[in-house]
Symmetry: C2
Subunit: 153 residues, 2 copies
Amino acid sequence: MASKSQRQHLIERILAERSVSDHGELVELLAAEGVEASQASVSRDLDELGAVKLRAGGQTVYAIPEIATQRAVPLETLRRVCGDWVVDAQHSQNLVVLTTPPGSAHVVASAIDRSDSDDVLGTVAGDDTILVVAAPHTTGEAVAEHFRELAGL
Amino acid sequence: MASKSQRQHLIERILAERSVSDHGELVELLAAEGVEASQASVSRDLDELGAVKLRAGGQTVYAIPEIATQRAVPLETLRRVCGDWVVDAQHSQNLVVLTTPPGSAHVVASAIDRSDSDDVLGTVAGDDTILVVAAPHTTGEAVAEHFRELAGL
DNA sequence: CATAAATATTCATTTATGTGAATAATTATG
DNA sequence: CATAATTATTCACATAAATGAATATTTATG
């Protein structure tokens, strides 16, 4: 069985190269690449990939928005990254300090940056420390708690 | 239940702070922090964390080598990172070109750098492309195939 | 607005992962 | 080298994630 992520990458590539108008067609194209999947799985995949249905001149076509491929890190991924690398999460005022193993800070910060949460204005990463600036509408405390939850701390 | 990664981070912290001479002691220290775990789990954790048993003057003490905390990314983690972000892996001579979604290259390259494989001399990451230099004793083809396997491609 | 087509969701099942108890294997010690 | 202490592994089980078939829901179309 092909892995879920492999299938989803393949879907991304297929959508970038061809026009796909419905789930059934995508199921067939996947099968042509040797990947078996049901319409139900395709539906879930498109949802998880953030795919949208475009209508251009009577034709409907699925596509993955730039914003989805360029930025969005799924919450599930952010959770894994934080679980793997975030050792501690403290806060002071609207600033959250995340601690990671030495040298790992920028990996985590990059994932956070790409997760485009409304609660985070931005991050700055050192070697084993990340400063996370909480947005005005929330608090450092709440954001720190959020990261502790993500990291399983 | 505390997550596995939480428990393992806690073990790292405990070992950094105190002298732990056997699994049973570590089980107790974990319990004192509110984390229940059996000796079997502790054994597996220490293995996965790359812990070593040091002997200093009759005393035996567990520790996690610098190389483990600073560099080693577990194969399992590298597999997840590649599965999530590596879209393609091609090679030419001893160079492997990995393709990722835009902006994600450095996340993957960082994980590869920290996985200290003997087969990889080093990486250079752009925006959506990583150059991986294969070591002399192997080939770009073999390394590319390795990454395809990791990524589920 | 009725009907067909397409898509999302539920449910049951499979598969993968994590776990502790028991035990095997290893390592230390007299 | 025998024995005790420690550590790794096996096994059975629990939990979570992924999946397809069936079905409910939504969307398009005459």
